[in-house]
Symmetry: C2
Amino acid sequence: MNKIPFPVIHRLSYVFEILNKLEEQGIKKVSSAQLGKYLGQTAHTVRKDIHFIGIAGTAGTKYDIAGLKTLISRHLGFGIPKKSCIVGLGKLGSALLEYTLAIPQGAFRIVAGFDSNINRVETIHTPIELFPAYRIEETVKRLQIELALIVVPPQQAQEAADRCCDGGVTGLLNFTPTVIKPKRDGIFVRSIDISGELRILAALAYTTTIMNE
Amino acid sequence: MNKIPFPVIHRLSYVFEILNKLEEQGIKKVSSAQLGKYLGQTAHTVRKDIHFIGIAGTAGTKYDIAGLKTLISRHLGFGIPKKSCIVGLGKLGSALLEYTLAIPQGAFRIVAGFDSNINRVETIHTPIELFPAYRIEETVKRLQIELALIVVPPQQAQEAADRCCDGGVTGLLNFTPTVIKPKRDGIFVRSIDISGELRILAALAYTTTIMNE
DNA sequence: TATTAAATGTGAATAATGGAACAATTTATG
DNA sequence: CATAAATTGTTCCATTATTCACATTTAATA
């Protein structure tokens, strides 16, 4: 199998979501131009991205949505939802728990939550199971959890991540501004740094303002 | 002024945060190699990035942290905090409000919140001012707000963004899975798509698993 | 003081990415 | 049935981004 460049994986995963939405609306066909419009990309890019994972349509006709979904699913593994957990159930963690539980789709499914504060574990009401932090490794192993959202204070981020790695996760979504290093090879980390994004926006606005002068 | 490539702005804004942390710890000097380690980048990249905005040190010596901070500040505009607002005060929005208010630093400052639900506007306790959604444009203009966090339901995202644009913001941080189009040129959009990131992680883990077979 | 090690600044080479062009193919239409 | 319009697959090219190499400079040390 050829290596798929990361930006392509990135965009295709969005294409997949768009296809889901279109299908919900009863739409059966879509063109690369339409997809590009939804993505904020050119039709060229869309076709080329799809080309990386194979042949999805026939020249002259639009893409068949169901077929394209199958193709992307097969290459990106969206068939079986990956079991996921949230580590850290403070205000942001709880909000993310509620938010992610409300997302109906096939790539992941939140099945457990952890917090070092026993009170929280006992008082939060949610349909999934909650555990104290010292049970992360054990629980991740037992439930075969593959992804973890790290929503703890920055100082505890690396340790929380380590426990998840020990349990055997394959991916970490880091919500702290800390750089997390996975304990083993083959574990992917993606970071959502909210204050970082705001800083970038501030900088972008500033640098272009300057440039216009 | 030369145009600074986006990836460079991106990384430099993280360098800035790292410098802040090091300075808090009383550290005065740092090398490109050390910075690279914190960033997960090579020393080469760090030096080249800094090179884009000027000369920050002298060969043979490490970078002076205070001096480098000044240089980055001057080029990325981190001197005066940009006034920012949060649109949408549901569970996630409220959590983000609390989260961002707790971040002590110079690039931005949250000064207002908006929600279409009057109840929320009246019941949430926070040190900043809250307003009903119909007052977005007016308030953004009056307070000269420059950045907006969009944390509304996906269907309302574009409209909320439009109101902010009408008010005159220069940057939007979009927390919905919708693609937001800025109403005018010169307005930057960055998106944090939580479910999207989870999908990407799921895909990354999967594609490499396949590749190892 | 001479030498070695460590560090930055900077130009060149390499790699990755995005965009464009166009051939091939299908559908619609007169 | 023939033609035109629309659409995909695929190759090629330009641009951008990253990595490397090395000259230069400082500080430390024997």
